[in-house]
């Protein structure tokens, strides 16, 4: 605990954390007004890799903008393309075969595990422990290999199509996924023993970086950040989409509001994702992966459409305002990290810099997704 802090505002200095700084994991800049090791005031400065994805979404046809979505969040790219195809399918009224939906759910969950694994490694590295990153990357490698075999790419996937998938999964993928499940469960136990139980690790996170439920509501934080603050909200449960209602899984919620709670949420989520993958592999039906009838040119009827999905970082929403042409009139992305990050300024006031950066790590920021 940092204890009560007396800030002498007459002896402060400005510290530029970023845009190139090991703790920001990208080109995020935080302008910190410091009093020694304590943060008086912080101001996040965005826009270093702004690429106007929303405008691109308005100037291009719906299929053309699909690969852009995986450039938002390079760690959990499938979740974002999933959101886009679901939104356009809802807008254009395209039916999706059941097999395609199951494969989508399996691959999205695999991607979520990969994303959380990388976050786990990077987070522990933020705290000064380098080794877990290497273990996590090795487990993630199995997922990337599997996904590469079916999707053709390792990071910025463009696997889903409007109405289905680009490529069916083969027996090799299913066998590899089945073999992966027990291995990953074993790894999670190992991480628990190596990291979660470590006294230094716990001391650095327990009661540090409190983010209350009110603050989450104020800034619109979702995903593991909100669930670590005791808000039981998961788009997969609360606004079900795809085939998620068919699966039996829990939403881990912790009420401690500290950095450790957010850590635990993500670690538990990996287990739940493994459960979903297991059920998906069991239930995977035969059949086509693309619908028989699909419009050649996608022109959704006039209207306003919204689709939210639960990505690894929280609720990702796509709003498409269509004027009936092949381009969207308005293409709005609601990215979870943007909201999660915006509470950092308020939450880190009065904290010590090392605790604040640990808290920033627990938010799981992916900068391209903030800047879009």
């Amino acid at each position: 605990m940092s204890g009560p802090i007396q800030i002498r505002s007459d002896e402060t200095f400005t510290l530029n954390v970023g845009p190139q700084h090991p703790a920001t994991h990208g080109v995020l800049r935080v302008k910190m007004q410091m009093d020694g090791e304590y943060i008086v005031k912080a101001e996040t400065v965005l826009g270093y890799i702004h690429r106007m994805h929303e405008l691109m979404g308005e100037n291009r046809t719906y299929p053309q903008v699909l690969p852009n979505l995986s450039r938002l969040d390079y760690l959990g790219a499938l979740g974002y393309t999933h959101g886009h195809v679901l939104a356009v399918e809802r807008a254009a009224g395209i039916e999706v075969p059941e097999r395609a939906e199951y494969i989508r759910a399996i691959t999205v969950e695999l991607n979520r595990v990969a994303s959380h694994l990388f976050w786990f490694g990077a987070f522990v590295m933020d705290l000064g422990g380098f080794t877990p990153l290497m273990y996590a990357i090795q487990d993630r490698e199995h997922i990337l290999d599997m996904l590469e075999a079916v999707t053709g790419s390792r990071l910025t996937y463009c696997y889903y199509r409007f109405g289905g998938l680009y490529n069916d999964v083969d027996d090799d993928f299913i066998a590899a996924a089945r073999a992966f499940l027990p291995r990953m469960r074993k790894s999670l136990k190992k991480y628990d023993a190596l990291v979660t139980g470590n006294i230094i690790f716990r001391k650095r996170l327990e009661d540090i970086g409190p983010i209350s439920a009110e603050m989450c509501r104020k800034y619109g934080a979702t995903g593991p950040v909100a669930r670590g603050a005791g808000i039981d909200f998961d788009v997969r449960k609360n606004e079900p989409y795809s085939v998620y209602p068919e699966f039996d899984f829990d939403v881990p919620v912790y009420h401690e509001c500290d950095s450790l709670a957010r850590y635990k949420v993500r670690m538990d989520e990996m287990e739940q994702s493994l459960r979903i993958i297991e059920q998906g592999l069991d239930k995977l039906p035969d059949g086509p992966i693309m619908p028989k009838k699909k419009p050649k040119l996608i022109k959704p009827p006039k209207g306003d459409y919204y689709q939210a999905v639960e990505t690894a970082r929280g609720s990702f929403g796509i709003r498409i305002v269509s004027d009936g042409t092949k381009n969207a009139y308005r293409f709005k992305l609601r990215s979870p990290t943007y909201s999660n990050m915006s509470l950092f300024d308020e939450a880190c006031e009065g904290m010590m810099i090392m605790d604040a950066l640990a808290m920033m790590g627990s938010l799981d920021l992916v900068i391209p997704e903030i800047d879009r």
Binding site: P22, E37, T131, M134, K203, L357
Partner: protein, 328 residues
């Protein structure tokens, strides 16, 4: 007269060579060890087992330009790396490797090593302050407060041992422990039953004194970029790096001498320099092992550990030993 000068020169050359070689090859050992711990090969391209990696790194560092940032305090900036390396090498002069192998056996050996070890904190302070970098200043302030608070329990522990042996000469401290593992200071004795705890305290303090993980707050790379040596490149950085490893060797040697019986064999047979080297390299391996296993502590956690736990325990141990020495 000329013979003593020759002796001194030879001793100094050997001390420097030993320190520099150790510093260079401990980097290699650390990287190989980290590789093994992290299930990857580590450096393995240059030479067999990557053994030519340290010379290659040395050549690279020496051929790079030394940049001095604008607004930096030039004198302090240039002095700091030298000050990091030189005391570490000098300390080797008084370290006894065996009964016969010691450059200069001094009656105040313990005191001298600690005096030189505290200069390391000054080097860090100069580096951080002189480079005029906010991260550097923050890191150096951290490192200095850390060094001060960990020297206290360390010295109290040493006083306990000096009280028990009645000498500050490192050679005599080892001689007092000869004859097998049951005579070593790590084993609780009648006059000092808390010695294993003292050993732990001393071990933790050596980690903190050498700025090693989990106490590497001075260079905490995920918070303070590279801490006090943020602005250093080329051989300035290289000297800090080598100084760190030379300090680790000194720390391991001190632990060996004070607690593990120096060059004494655990069974009391064939004492010799190999036992000493075996012990210090085992200790260094444990340093490496700890670094690649634990995350970093916080600055207040670190200070709390020293002032609220280590210092009271070591003080208690000191009083207990003093009392028991009087009784027995």
């Amino acid at each position: 007269m000329s013979l003593t000068i020759l002796n001194a020169v030879v001793a100094v050359v050997i001390a420097i060579a030993f320190a520099a070689l150790n510093a260079a090859y401990l980097v290699w050992a650390e990287r190989r060890g980290a590789g093994r711990i992290q299930r990857r090969p580590g450096p393995n391209v240059n030479g067999p087992l990557g053994l030519l990696q340290p010379p290659a790194d040395g050549i690279k560092l020496m051929t790079k330009q030394l940049m001095i940032p604008g607004g930096a305090d030039k004198a302090l900036f240039m002095v700091a790396p030298v000050l990091a390396m030189a005391p570490a090498i000098t300390s080797f002069v008084t370290v006894p490797f065996s009964d016969t192998i010691v450059a200069h056996s001094m009656n105040i050996g313990v005191l001298m090593i600690f005096a030189f070890a505290s200069l390391g904190a000054l080097a860090i302070l100069f580096a951080g302050w002189g480079s005029r970098n906010k991260y550097g200043v923050m890191a150096s302030v951290r490192a200095v407060s850390q060094n001060i608070s960990y020297e206290i329990p360390m010295l109290i522990t040493v006083i306990t041992i000096v009280m028990m042996t009645g000498t500050m000469n490192l050679k005599e401290i080892v001689a007092a422990q000869s004859g097998g593992i049951w005579n070593w200071h790590i084993v609780p004795s009648l006059s000092s039953p808390l010695m294993p705890i003292s050993f732990l305290i001393f071990f933790i303090c050596s980690l903190a004194e050498t700025n090693r993980a989990p106490f590497d707050l001075g260079e905490a790379e995920s918070e303070l970029v590279a801490g006090f040596h943020t602005e250093y490149g080329s051989m300035g950085f290289g000297l800090f790096f080598m100084g760190e490893y030379a300090n680790i060797v000194i720390g391991a040697s001190l632990i060996t001498i004070l607690f593990l019986g120096g060059w004494d064999c655990p069974l009391g047979l064939f004492p010799g320099v190999w036992w000493f080297l075996l012990k210090i390299y085992l200790l260094i391996f444990s340093f490496i092992w700890i670094r690649w296993t634990f995350p970093r502590t916080t600055i207040y956690g670190l200070l709390n550990l020293s002032w609220k736990i280590l210092i009271p325990i070591s003080l208690f141990n000191l009083l207990l030993t003093a009392g028991l020495l009087k009784v027995f």
